[in-house]
Amino acid sequence: MAEVLQRIGLDVFFPEEQTCCGQPAFNSGQWQEALPVAERFVRVFATAETIVCPSGSCTAMVRSFYPELLANSPLRSDAEALARRVFEFSEFLVKVAKVTDVGADFPHTVTYHDSCHLLRELQLRTEPRILLRNVKNLELVEMLRSDECCGFGGVFSVKFGMISAAMSETKCGNIDATNVEFVTSCDSSCLLHIGGILKKTGSPVRPIHLASILAASPNSSTAARRVHS
Amino acid sequence: MPQTGNGSREQILQRVRDALTKPAAPPCVGPPRPIFALVGDLLERFQKECAITLTECTVTQGTESSREAITSILDSLPAGDFYIHDTPQLRSLIEGCTANRSVRWSSEGPPLETTQVSLTLAEGLVALTGSIVTSSGCGGRGASVVPDCHIVFATIDQLVPDLEAAMALIQQRGLPSKNSYVGLITGSSRTADIEKILVLGAHGPRRLAVVLQNR
């Protein structure tokens, strides 16, 4: 992601003190544990002009859920202001930087999985697809029910592993049916989960994050390393 | 009055009132706007919707052709009792149509289990959905649901455009205060409980036929 942003001429900073947005605890109902972590996040990024995140679920946490979680916090208005400055990566490129072609070259067949937070909390469906269609030599093949949940759901994948795995089987079945080489998404957690099932079932399809595709070009040396195997 | 009083009325109402002292956030909605496109030609739309819901709709030009339409439907049905909503209009209409059928008028009582076909008027017709508006005043409750085939005789001036107009009609005519049953019927009885396959005639009529006279 950083590579792509730099390629389109932006200055990228990585605040090293950052840790986590707090979503795992929040989603588990442990709001008292999530709150200090969220407040810390707000402080760490307080002076950042624009924050870009390669994850739909983290972005949704800050934008949709921080106002509720920090409702009684002294940092509430900071959180609300922050929520307006946080963007998911594909959203940032298309809607803020107004760039739809980042000069990427990825000569492979790819299918796209709509991750739930990105689709339903952030309402982003077309932005990743616009970016993918502008990647040279990439063929985008839509899978059946790309918007159906992959089954990760954070701690759900472990607590209710059997349901999570069953959901993923359906998703991976739809992916395999497209006969593509790669499945991509804007959320690593989905890709981790889907990748786990694909590998276990011996599917040749490999997961790759959208940012890695956008970073790929004949000159880029990092593309190969970024592929989740 | 009620056998055991009205139960926990005061207790429940008090709990409701206590809860409502705390306001909740209203739903997040846009500005009010129409939900259905305006219906154009009422007759055309009604016929189109009947085709979708599998209601047989025959448009006739006068009493004679209405009689023919009704006779034709009766001829296509197996033998069995004919139950008719007792009104002067229908008494006059079905003269000569009922040969070979045992007729029971609604004034004689409710339809019997063996009723094959019924004929009633309607309170109105709804173009948007292809529905008939009916009530217990149209031959009683059973007339539209006991037989295997229900025939509705209506006239074109009974058509209203949409559901809002239908509800307004029901209210303006005071139907709730004059009838213990008021309803909309859209198509014949059906079920899709077996593998989502549509089967007609679950418990109510397998056929609903509207004879619509163009006065």
């Binding site: 954070g154 | 139960g7 077996i194």
Partner: protein
């Protein structure tokens, strides 16, 4: 862990990999999806329709006491009886009392989830009253002695040969797999019940305050027959079913039909305001309405989740839910399944025993997206989770784990260290060949999925290296 939670996990385990079940449900859902999408296209503005429904129900709830009183006044002015039941027991006992006082031996029932909720049938049967479920799906599960699988399509887990075998066994008649003939078999059998029935019990989709009428929607006509032929009619509904005006049905009826089955309107949209009048041909001699609280006033009191009471029981959220599709309706073990069941049951039956349902979700949000009355379903699941934690209804180990997590996350140094440690540990587990075995700390993950390949460096390490190189 409580018994209900353990049962849920056990059944989920059974059903999740039952491929026959998965296929049957998938077919049903696909069929629904296509009909639903077609149904939505009949509206010129479906979102406007959802808005209106949300507003109608919100208005009804905001003045719930006034509308309930108005409804009662009109019904009783026409000679009908209105009974207010605080809980299941009061509601059941009222029905039994009316049945006994009127020497009722046979009851025909139109579909009513509320009568399932209060477990009415067993009480009536124990008192020597024959109860016939007349909705075809309900009749089928009654014959099988099972609860309904889905609040709208109770038998969607069965295919035609399951039903054929069942009918052969319980009804007899010609052996057939053809749905038309199966329906005809049921029709003949239930027609006898309708005409013999002395009391009809129905639910109500809506209670209309201004004209004092109950609204019942069915496609089969069983709701019509149950309320026309027997001499007594009892309608039962939750207090939240009230709507202010008859005119509201012009929006609610087509939306309910679209969300429920993809139809423009349910075949029989029925309004009943009382027993048969003196000048009427037929109809019951007595009309009773039982208004049920049973935990609904507590939900009303929870201002954060009051909107849950807007639910019109269309079943759309069940159809949209990927968890429901995989574990099926019976796994929930509750009257109401799917997302609405997971949100509602902890309120109606206790957070302690049923909070696990709110955790059994990936929070994908498909339910909120489809809900025609705009209930914030998946957010309520999150709130139930928080409530469960705050009321001490979650295992202490969870709290401990997250306290540790918090401690780790409040320091970048600790975050980096434990990240590094985790990667090294996983590498060791892999090298020792323990991946996927019970000794694997990530067993709960690797039981179903291949372990992920952790990168050699974290992004942080990579960034620092590149920046050092660029300086």
């Amino acid at each position: 862990m409580t018994t209900a939670a353990q049962e849920f996990l056990r059944k989920a385990d059974e059903k999740s990999f039952d491929l026959r079940h998965r296929k049957t449900i998938r077919q049903g859902i696909d069929s629904y999806e296509s009909a639903h999408n077609k149904g939505k296209s009949r509206f010129s503005d479906w979102e406007a329709a959802r808005d209106r429904c949300a507003q109608i129900k919100a208005e009804a709830l905001s003045r719930l006491d006034q509308y309930l009183i108005q409804f009662e006044e009109v019904v009783t002015s026409r000679g009908g009886y209105v009974f207010w039941a605080a809980n299941s027991e009061e509601a059941r006992n009222y029905v039994l009392e009316v049945a006994k006082k009127n020497n009722i031996k046979t009851v025909v029932k139109s579909k009513s989830m509320v009568t399932e909720e209060i477990h009415l049938n067993p009480l009536l049967e124990k008192n020597g009253i024959e109860v016939w479920e007349t909705d075809l799906g309900e009749y089928i599960v009654q014959l099988r002695n099972e609860p309904p699988y889905h609040i709208v399509t109770p038998a969607m887990h069965l295919n035609r040969s399951d039903i054929a075998k069942l009918f052969q066994e319980k009804i007899g008649g010609v052996q057939t797999n053809d749905p038309t003939q199966l329906v005809a078999l049921a029709r003949r059998k239930l027609r006898q019940a309708f005409f013999a029935g002395e009391m009809g019990i129905s639910g109500a989709n809506f209670l209309v305050a201004d004209c004092g009428m109950i609204a019942i929607n069915t496609n089969e006509g069983n709701g019509r027959l149950c309320t026309s032929l027997p001499r007594i009619h009892i309608a039962m509904a939750g207090i939240e079913k009230i709507i202010p005006h008859l005119q509201d049905l012009a929006t609610l009826w087509p939306v309910l039909a679209t969300a429920g089955t993809g139809q423009h309107l349910t075949t029989y949209c029925t309004l009943i305001g009382g027993a048969r009048r003196n000048d009427e041909v037929d109809g019951p001699e007595q009309f009773h309405v039982v208004l049920l609280d049973n935990g609904r006033t507590e939900l009303l009191d929870d201002t954060e989740q009051r909107d849950v009471l807007r639910c019109i029981r269309c079943g759309a959220c069940l159809n949209a839910c990927p968890i429901f599709r995989n574990v099926g309706g019976h796994t929930y073990g509750t009257t109401y399944q799917g997302p609405i069941g997971s949100v509602l049951t902890p309120h109606l039956r206790g957070l302690k025993e049923f909070n696990h349902l709110s955790f059994a979700s990936s929070l994908c949000g498909a339910c909120t997206e489809i809900c025609p009355v705009r209930i914030d379903l998946h957010h309520h699941l999150l709130q139930n989770r928080r409530n469960a934690v705050n009321s001490g209804n979650r295992p202490w180990t969870e709290r401990l784990a997250f306290s540790f997590w918090r401690w780790m996350m409040l320091s970048p140094r600790r975050f980096r260290f434990f990240g590094w440690l985790g990667r090294k540990l996983m590498k060791a587990v892999r090298m020792l060949g323990l991946s996927g075995t019970r000794l694997d700390p990530m067993y709960k993950w690797t039981k179903y999925r291949a372990a992920p390949d952790f990168p050699a460096q974290s992004f942080r390490e990579m960034w620092m290296r590149n920046h050092a190189a660029n300086r």
